[in-house]
Symmetry: C2
Subunit: 226 residues, 2 copies
């Protein structure tokens, strides 16, 4: 992978996930190639943007050629190439810290297992929870976190604890040499260099909706007044 792969733009990275969603149904239907324009229409972006996005995929030395001018992309090759870049060609065991409402919701969610991200170990600081079985997994104590994450080579952890405990948990995860953290606590956490953090800020999702609605209303008001 060339050095500049590290600078893959975030919007492109996010769209790679969306391309991954579109391709399997086409492959299942026996479609062999797809043009950038058709793929763009599915995602609501221009064909030029699709070609730019997929140039990042093709640039990776691991992936080889995925598309040819005038022919379109080979669906299967493109799918496998994106999977290698995104890392979903392998299975990522996930550690969950905190089995309150958010933790239980995630355990009950079901979509992670089939997406290649099974939650395999769960932790809680509450002694009354430790040893209990939730969603088929036994709650381990925080004292076992470092050992279990290291011995099982777990790279990704979910923080699903209250705001006040989030930084302490982040420190413990960094100490256990975690590589990535999905943080559901409504606060930012500081991590060791090289650790990736994705903060799930639900308020942002509401803001996107309120923006859409506000704009729609303005347009409607303008049309009424015109």
């Amino acid at each position: 992978m060339p050095a500049n792969a590290r600078r893959i733009p975030r919007p492109t990275a996010q769209r790679l996930s969306l391309y991954l969603r579109e391709l399997p149904p086409l492959i299942a239907q026996g479609q062999t190639t797809i043009r950038s324009q058709v793929l763009g229409e599915k995602l609501g972006v221009t064909s030029a943007q699709v070609r730019k996005d997929l140039a990042w995929v093709a640039q990776s030395r691991q992936t080889g050629e995925v598309g040819r001018s005038g022919v379109g992309y080979n669906c299967l090759k493109l799918y496998e190439a994106i999977r290698r870049v995104v890392g979903t060609n392998r299975r990522w065991s996930i550690a969950l810290v905190g089995v309150g409402n958010i933790g239980r919701a995630l355990l009950g969610y079901g979509g992670f297992e089939q997406g290649g991200f099974p939650i395999t170990v769960i932790f809680d600081s509450d002694d009354r929870m430790v040893g209990k079985r939730i969603g088929g997994r036994v709650v381990a104590p925080m004292s076992a976190l470092r050992r279990m994450i290291r011995s099982r080579h777990i790279a990704i952890a979910i923080i699903a604890v209250p705001r006040s405990a989030a930084q302490t948990v982040a420190n413990q995860l960094c100490d256990a040499e975690i590589k990535g953290i999905l943080n559901f606590a409504p606060t930012r956490v500081s991590v060791a260099k090289g650790v990736s953090v994705t903060n799930i800020d639900m308020t942002v999702a509401f803001e996107q909706l309120s923006m859409d609605i506000s704009i729609q209303e303005s347009i409607a008001a303008e049309e009424d007044g015109a």
Copy 2:
């Protein structure tokens, strides 16, 4: 608001939420202006991108001038202008459908109230849940959904029901003239024209982390090999 406000690019729309996070601490510290470059550094984007993003805000007839070349943006004016575009200058009451684990996690989350998005009415199809008090709100039956949403002028609803029930609930919400839906069910829902839907796909968040980690590992392997 000009007609092209409806075409605000999605990445810009998402960054508007981030600008909203950065400005209040500065205003609280008494800072009056901020340059695009400083704002860009906080968000990890170029100053040119910041100026482009904020041009969308300034374009809105409602907002007036927010920045002047060489002086920077007036923090307070910019904050208020973005709030008007995003719609967080008003309070949005939220309806929650489904009080299972995800619903309870959202009720317990706490961040929505202060973000201007309080969950004010909650519904469930399970007769055993109806009438129960959860997080200070009483669970209403689905039969009351249309009436309550319309009489309270609720614009945004959360779908937090199992996959199998999601489309039925979406239909009921559209029938109640909802304007926006935040969908936590792991499936896409079809809605009436003009209704905005944001799907919360947790697997995408994991994929972003696995991509970051895969790229880091490739770089490390390359450096080892060099």
